[in-house]
């Protein structure tokens, strides 16, 4: 490190990072020379905890790996368990899973567009996008009863049915989102200040991206076709008609483009699901304490941020012997580091945000729940006392 260089730590608490991670940037003036990611502030080790819980209990656990891609994790988890146990999923349930998955993708991509706008200081766009995201949140709440952790998928199917009476209203809301997104694409591709901050920023070419095994929109913006829904279809994605969005811009603008276009494709898929969803059961019975026969299976899912893998090994008991999760963000960190080198300090937030990092997925924590001790209630008096005592020290 020469004398002109100094190290800027960003994180674990920094406005550009909504999550506690830190990056040590070696900078020369305003230019980044080297980056060292320090992750693990969110390490919970859910993998260890899953080994001591039943398959049904684990459903709620995997959902809380990440609050934004909760449904993707759940889909991948039940997919891998069903593959081990050879459990058939009714077709209607598969459609409903696709429906949830795409709704979640809508909300997540809109969230990202807003955050990206915020990172380059365009708060007005951030507020507009998040306002429209609430339309999607309303839909999610109406379908599943929850705004964030939906608890929709279960082993053998889904837990709640879609009511066809609501379809006309949902269609309207979805076309509204679509219309809005088209407008934002127009804004983002014509507004000069956005273009100044996005085009050519954090460039990474196709070759490098393939070498570093990037996933999701981060890789697709560099021209690597890697949408699991297309190249390794699961559920009923092979029956649905949608585009494989790949662009070769390779920069932040490409990431904006991929995500915005994917929002439009998701709207298309949602409309198709409502058109084509067959009648029938929504789940096959699975005993909550049921055992899964010995075996192992891998299940890949295209989460909003990219390829998500769940790998289950069962030894015939009612708890998994080992369950491995790899979230998309971990796969994107090597390419992120490559993108950051040579960029300006001012571009760090947008490049960081560019891969749509989700560190809570990345560092799963080890945890364990005794089920006791949880329901203690503090009265106001207790709280006051506690505060007083604390201050005395």
């Amino acid at each position: 490190m020469s004398e002109r260089q100094f190290v800027i730590p960003i994180g674990p608490q920094h406005p550009a990072l909504k999550e506690p991670e830190s990056f040590y940037f070696t900078v020369d003036g305003e230019v980044v020379v080297d980056v060292e990611p320090h992750i693990g502030y969110n390490h919970r080790g859910i993998e260890k905890a899953m080994e001591s819980r039943t398959y049904i209990q684990n459903l709620y656990l995997v959902e809380r790996i990440c609050g934004i891609c909760s449904n993707a994790h759940q889909t991948a988890y039940v997919g891998s368990v069903e593959a081990v146990g050879g459990i058939e999923v009714p077709e209607r349930a598969q459609y409903i899973r696709v429906f949830m998955q795409e709704l979640e993708r809508l909300h997540s991509h809109l969230l990202w567009l807003g955050v990206a706008a915020h990172e380059i200081g365009f708060d007005t766009l951030f507020y507009y996008v998040w306002r429209d995201r609430e339309l999607v949140m309303d839909l999610l709440e109406e379908v599943s009863g929850n705004r964030v952790n939906y608890a929709m998928a279960t082993i053998g199917g889904v837990r709640r049915d879609l009511n066809p009476d609501n379809f006309p209203r949902w269609r309207k809301a979805i076309s509204k989102v679509q219309e809005r997104t088209e407008y934002y694409i127009k804004v983002a591709s014509t507004e000069p200040t956005i273009l100044e901050r996005a085009v050519g920023v954090g460039y990474l070419g196709k070759g490098d991206m393939e070498r570093l095994s990037g996933v999701g929109p981060n890789a697709r913006c560099s021209g690597v076709p890697c949408d699991i829904r297309k190249i390794n279809p699961y559920l009923v994605y092979d029956k649905l008609d949608f585009e494989h969005i790949v662009v070769d811009n390779g920069d932040v603008f490409g990431q904006v483009l991929v995500r915005a276009l994917e929002v439009l494709e998701s709207c298309k898929i949602l409309q198709q699901v409502m058109d084509e969803i067959p009648e029938g059961e929504i789940r096959t019975k699975f005993n909550p304490l049921g055992r899964i026969p010995e075996g192992e299976a891998v299940y890949l899912v295209e989460a909003q941020r990219g390829e998500l893998i769940h790998y289950t090994i069962s030894n015939g008991r009612n708890m998994p012997y080992r369950h491995k999760v790899r979230s998309p963000t971990l796969g994107n960190i090597p390419s992120l580091v490559e993108r950051l080198k040579g960029s300006y300090i001012a571009d760090i937030p947008i490049i960081l945000a560019g891969i749509d990092p989700c560190f809570s997925c990345t560092d799963r924590m080890l945890f364990y729940d005794e089920g006791k001790d949880r329901s203690w209630v503090w009265t106001e008096e207790d709280l006051r006392k506690y505060r007083r005592e604390w201050f005395k020290e």
Binding site: P20, N42, R147, M365, D369
Partner: protein
Amino acid sequence: MSIVTWARTRSPWLIHFNAGACNACDIEVVAALTPRFDVERFGALLKGSPRHADVMVVSGSVPRKIRKRLRRIYEQMPSPKFVVAVGSCAISGGVFKKCYNSMEGVDNFIPVDAYIPGCPPKPEAILDGVVKLLKSAGY
């Protein structure tokens, strides 16, 4: 009500600290800023620097690696300062209780003034929690 109390309850500047949360609480906290909920109506602003903030909104079950930062950010805030624990994890460790890598809730490290339960609480609940905190803050 003295003018100072009036001013304090009308102008809570927030800082958001994610102590190992799963993102669900965090996006709901951010959603509380956006047009539909808009906490600025109550004079609340989200600030980036702990030096500017009055209320620390903490989510997450405090993993081992983050514990020092939590204390440090809290100590950097000028008093009078308040802490709001958002979500089950921040309250008691929630599902992460009795986990070797979680330190079981925020109040093991810093004093908490308001608890907003939920997994995650809705933005309305977070708003309500902050407003209730302010109402009860007639110190």
